[in-house]
């Protein structure tokens, strides 16, 4: 099914937006913000056109790019990429709407954010592995600058650490990609970089292991899987609010998406043989991340560590290699994006008011700023998987599925549910309840209209996915089933 290039439009419209913003005068922040918001919202509107993608790749685009090596500009979406594309397009305008605290450099901030969007959307649409790689790396640069230019006191260390970790993973991935292209040429005599073609390769087990390992390192760092996670808390703590939201909501999903879309289908046998070691790391991430979150006294760091725990859950869902669990993993990617994105948004809101982020710098927030407090409570409940909200649906699917194939890992991860309640609720208690700990904490303004508008879509998503996940499941289901079917056949 060919299309009129809608995916390219969604991908590159933000880049055009970045260009426009770059040429606007920096003296007028309102105009800058309005222009960026316009592009962001327009793109969100466009992205809704792909909402019916499900079992098969649709909106296919294919142009020759480097014909000598069979490299194409290939774009398409299915039920796996569709929600992630839309989430990316949703997150960016949300961030733009809450940039009132960015003073100097707003222009650069917005430009970088829009470039990010191009990278994020592109990476989920790419059906050509070289194109995937290009977009994958493209996301790295704007985020590096976002952290390095707009971050906290330790921003240079954090940005550098983030960049090095990611680059460290990318190199083996590039080697694996080139190796696959070469193998394809050896096997068939033609060059191709299409993921579809590369999936058809029948590599022997040992080769698959090497290929898988090459990809796995890059993706495991992005997820992040224990013990490769230490860049994440630093990056989150130092990043500006927008950077944290993008990082949590989208960037981490590049890792799990990469596993599902690239590493597992390209090395199906290795996906089976690596399942146990990956699951061990996933379980450690779930439990260790939760304990780590418990030990934090800084709001942002707590949320960052909880990310490690939640993403471990997604990995359990993926490597259980079971239809229910895979559905749950996809849902949980979105849920984590929504809930943790919302948490970082709210932490940004309180930080902006208080200029501190310690758990004991607040107290009585639900009394001082009711809307902000209630938003924080609801989001925390979504994060700990309260039934009726989004987190529960994903967790239940993952556990029901994983218990069939990997009961031990499922049971261990289920205990993460308990730990989640402990660290999130003690955070809520210390921040939201009691009385204000000091004079400053007693006079914080409540959510502004812009903040409410930015938060509203996220809270609607929490309830929508929690109560009526059928819409997403119908689209995700066939797509993950086809990937799992391919894994099972080898």
């Amino acid at each position: 099914m060919n299309s009129f290039g809608i995916l390219s439009l969604i991908t590159f419209l933000p880049l055009l937006g970045a260009l426009v913003v770059a040429f606007l005068p920096r003296e007028n922040p309102k105009v800058l913000r309005a222009a960026a918001l316009l592009f962001g919202l327009a793109n969100l509107g466009l992205s809704l056109l792909i909402v019916n993608a499900a079992g098969t790749m649709v909106f296919v685009e294919r142009l020759h790019w480097i014909p000598a090596f069979g490299v194409c500009y290939g774009m398409a979406v299915d039920g796996i990429s569709m929600p992630l594309v839309i989430l990316s397009c949703l997150v960016v305008p949300i961030i733009i709407a809450t940039t009132f605290h960015v003073g100097r450099g707003l222009k650069e901030y917005l430009v970088l954010l829009l470039i990010m969007e191009t990278g994020m959307v592109g990476v989920f649409c790419a059906t050509d592995i070289i194109l995937f790689y290009v977009f994958f790396e493209l996301t790295l640069v704007p985020l590096y600058f976002l952290i390095g230019m707009f971050g906290g006191v330790n921003r240079i260390y954090a940005a550098f650490k983030f960049f090095l970790f990611t680059a460290f993973g990318s190199l083996p991935m590039l080697v694996a990609i080139l190796f696959l292209l070469y193998q394809h040429h050896q096997a068939t005599g033609v060059w191709s970089a299409s993921i579809e073609d590369l999936r058809a390769l029948r590599l022997d087990a040992a080769t698959q292991n090497w290929v898988f390992a090459g990809f796995a390192l890059a993706f495991a760092i992005k997820v992040p899987l224990w013990p490769l996670h230490t860049w994440l808390p630093d990056a989150h703590v130092q990043a500006p609010t927008g950077g944290s939201i993008v990082l949590a909501a989208i960037m981490l999903k590049l890792g799990t998406y990469g596993f599902l879309r690239i590493a597992m289908p390209l090395a199906p046998q290795a996906a089976h043989s690596f399942a146990t070691p990956v699951l061990v790391l996933a379980v450690i991430s779930v439990i260790y991340g939760a304990y780590l979150a418990w030990a934090q006294d800084d709001l942002k760091k707590l949320v960052a560590c909880s990310s490690v725990s939640h993403m471990g859950f997604v990995m359990l869902g993926l490597f259980a290699l079971e239809p229910l669990a895979a559905r749950g993993a996809m849902l949980q990617m979105l849920n984590h994006g929504v809930s943790t994105g919302a948490l970082f948004l709210l932490v940004g809101c309180v930080y902006e008011r208080r200029h501190k982020r310690g758990l004991d710098d607040f107290g009585g927030l639900v009394k001082v700023s009711p809307a902000l407090g209630i938003a924080l409570v609801i989001t925390s409940l979504s994060s700990i998987g309260l039934p009726g909200l989004n987190g529960f649906v994903g967790e239940l699917f993952i556990l029901l599925g994983a218990f069939k194939t990997q009961p031990v890992f499922a049971i261990l991860c289920a205990s993460g549910v308990l730990l989640g309640a402990i660290y999130m609720l003690q955070m809520v208690r210390r921040v939201c309840y009691g009385t204000p700990n000091c004079e400053e904490a007693a006079h914080l303004s409540d959510m502004s209209v812009a903040e409410k508008f930015a938060f509203a879509p996220l809270v609607i998503l929490m309830f929508w996915i929690g109560l009526a996940p059928g819409f997403l499941l119908e689209r995700i289901g066939p797509a993950v089933d086809s990937i799992l079917a391919a894994l099972g056949n080898t």
Binding site: K161, L164, P227, T230, P233, Y288, Y291, L292, W294, A295, Q296, P323, L324, A326, R327, G364, V366, K367, L381, L386, P387, G388, F392, V393, L396, F397, L399, L400, G401, F403, K404, P407, A410, I411, A414, S415, V417, L418, A421, I422, Y423, L425, Q426, R429, C432, Y433, G434, T435, L467, A468, P469, G470, L473, E474, I476, G477, D481
Partner: protein, 642 residues
């Protein structure tokens, strides 16, 4: 038609929550309160209407079902927002909405001056909705949704006055302890799905009965036993049984109507509901049933001992609740399912009454809760006094009040049961009955008779409560007097509740074997014994506390009173053996992450830096150094070639 009404039963409370939340600025407080009350009364009336149709005994379990919307579908899972009103859920729904309505009305008066009045009713309606989801849900995930939903409301209402950090802490404790139980429930759900391939409750229980008939699941099957035990872990959390009962006494930090509704009459009986709902599993797992009976009996006993020496009026009632819940589990464990449900109903009547009565006292005394600082309230609070007095008789289990019949049914089935275990837990239950009567009348004496020991502050506004509060008390008192008529002893051949519930428990009783019918004189003799024990306990307390706590002082020194005063040190044991190590692990993880993992990361970076620095020494920019190296290299090459 019936389907639509059934849907309304659960949708009305939730709709009311939404309306109250979004209109909280414009709704006058009084109207909001009335909406909240109506949102409980209407479901009650609807349940009466719909429930009448399912009374007729049929070969299948009679039920009305409805599906509101689909929920979790795909990958071999098919779970909808499906409701199922059968005799068991109907009984619970009537208790929840009936008692719930009375307590809502009471709260109109009790919370009248509270600035959080509207928030209170939003939470209360949310609770009713969640509780109905728990009871009416036809699938395990929906049951779980209600299960966690009531836990959330409990958390929010315990910490209702959150400015005091202790209240917020109590709420958090309740939620976390419950989550331990929920983990058990969740694992049971996973095992059930794996075993039966479905999460529909009726399909699962029917599947198990059929499987047993075909020989797939033998009596004592290990898998079924494990599932039953995991379900029971969940029940222990929600229904405050050993060792997870620690949250309930702390939960008294919430407003008193909450204690009455959530922490006495309804939510805490959810565990009983679950075990009763899955009674076939327990019937097929004698080991699990034995565990249920033992845990129930021990909880009944231990909590009663703690209640003997509590000073806080609500704490006495809280431990009493744990203890009475223990009775119910004891009943479930010995296979007296109907009797356990009967006790849930009567307990809801009299414990709601006692808590609301305590609330009325606390309200009158400007929030004084210490029974040592009460006394002589009888003339000041006439209606509160006589209704509370009725509640004491019912709780103590004195003929002909409601508690007598239900408790006696449980004890009778236990004491006359086969083997050595059932009589043993029965004896434990009998000793508990003695203590129950003692602490009940101790409390009554301390609060209502003897010399006044009030603070000036408490005395200032001493007044009987308004009608919104006393009318529910009177209704509950009448129910506590006559509630026993729902299920008279077997020889009376009048057992409305038992007949109504029979189809629910028929499969379980078919597996475990119907309890033997005993001769009339045996049953009567047993009743007389238990009545004598109870009256003895009551009489003892009546005399001992005739003149207030003065008779109790000086406090007996020594191990046992000290142990009881400190609640067997259970909280401290938890702090040392559970919370401490976990907290330590968290700190250790933080340390490990910072110094070990990041140490390695930063170490590698420094190593690279160092290598760079060494190599950089060569690149020092001085031409003569390069010349020297060049010559040295040339000399080396020439030498090696030669």
């Amino acid at each position: 038609m019936e389907e639509n009404l059934l849907e309304l039963i659960i949708l009305i409370p939730f709709a009311s929550v939404v309306v109250q939340y979004f209109l909280h600025r414009v709704l006058p407080a009084r109207l909001a309160g009335l909406i909240a009350c109506g949102a409980v009364l209407v479901p009650f009336l609807l349940t009466v209407v719909v429930g009448r149709g399912i009374g007729a005994a049929a070969p299948q379990v009679p039920a009305v079902t409805a599906t509101i919307a689909s929920w979790l579908t795909g990958g071999g899972l098919e779970v909808a927002f499906g409701l199922r009103l059968d005799p068991l859920s109907c009984a619970w729904t009537l208790v929840v909405t009936g008692i719930g309505f009375l307590i809502h009305v009471y709260s109109l008066g009790y919370m009248h001056h509270d600035p959080g009045f509207k928030r209170f009713f939003i939470y209360m309606n949310l609770f009713i909705g969640s509780m109905l989801a728990l009871v009416l849900g036809d699938s395990l995930p929906l049951l779980f949704l209600g299960w966690e939903g009531v836990g959330l409301c409990s958390y929010l209402l315990i910490g209702f006055w959150f400015e005091d950090m202790n209240n917020a802490r109590a709420g958090q404790k309740a939620f976390v302890v419950n989550r331990i139980g929920d983990l058990g429930f969740l694992l049971a759900m996973l095992m059930i799905f794996q075993t039966f391939g479905t999460l529909d409750i009726a399909a699962v229980t029917n599947g198990l009965s059929a499987g047993h008939a075909q020989g797939t699941f033998a009596l004592g099957d290990a898998r079924i036993t494990l599932i039953a035990l995991l379900l029971f872990v969940g029940a222990c959390g929600k229904s405050a049984q050993l060792p997870l009962f620690v949250w309930l006494p702390d939960a008294m930090a919430g407003p008193t109507p909450v204690s009455a509704l959530i922490h006495a009459a309804t939510m805490v009986t959810a565990g009983i509901y679950m075990v009763a709902r899955f009674s076939v599993f327990f019937a097929l797992a004698p080991v699990a049933s034995a565990v249920v009976a033992i845990v129930g009996a021990l909880t009944a006993f231990v909590s009663a001992t703690i209640a003997l020496r509590q000073r806080d009026i609500k704490k006495v009632l809280a431990y009493s609740t744990c203890s009475q819940l223990g009775y119910m589990f004891l009943g479930l464990g010995v296979g007296a399912y109907g009797a356990a449900v009967f006790h849930v109903v009567t307990h809801a009547f009299f414990k709601a009454l006692l808590f609301l009565g305590a609330g009325s006292v606390i309200h009158a005394l400007s929030h004084e809760q210490n029974a040592m600082k009460m006394g002589g309230l009888k003339p000041h609070l006439p209606r509160t006094h006589w209704t509370f007095f009725v509640g004491c008789f019912a709780l103590a289990g004195i003929f002909p009040f409601a508690g007598f019949f239900s408790k006696d049914k449980i004890l009778g089935e236990a004491l006359l049961g086969h083997g050595w275990l059932f009589p043993l837990v029965g004896v434990l239950g009998l000793i508990t009955a003695l203590m129950t009567a003692f602490y009940t009348f101790r409390l009554y004496r301390l609060v209502f008779t003897g010399p006044e020991r009030l603070d000036a502050h408490a005395k200032k506004h001493l007044h009987e409560s308004p009608a919104t509060m006393t009318v529910p008390l009177v209704i509950l008192a009448l129910l506590s007097i006559g509630g026993g008529a729902l299920s008279l002893p077997a020889f009376a051949h009048f057992d409305i509740l038992g007949d109504y519930l029979r189809p629910i428990f028929a499969p379980a009783l078919a597996v475990a074997g119907e309890a033997a019918h005993h001769a009339v004189n045996v049953e009567v003799a047993l009743m007389l014994v238990s009545l004598a024990v109870v009256i003895g306990g009551a009489w003892w307390a009546w005399n001992r506390f005739a003149r207030g706590p003065g008779d109790q002082l000086p406090l007996p020194q020594g191990g046992l009173p000290f142990l009881l005063e400190n609640k067997w040190f259970v909280d401290e044991i938890y702090a040392i053996f559970v919370v401490g190590p976990m907290r330590g692990t968290a700190l250790l993880a933080g340390f490990f992450d910072r110094y070990v993992i990041d140490g390695i990361v930063n170490g590698l970076a420094r190593l690279c830096d160092l290598c760079g620095a060494v190599v950089r020494l060569l690149q020092n920019g001085a031409v003569h150094t390069y010349a020297l190296l060049f010559i040295a290299g040339a000399v080396y090459l020439v030498c090696s070639l030669l």
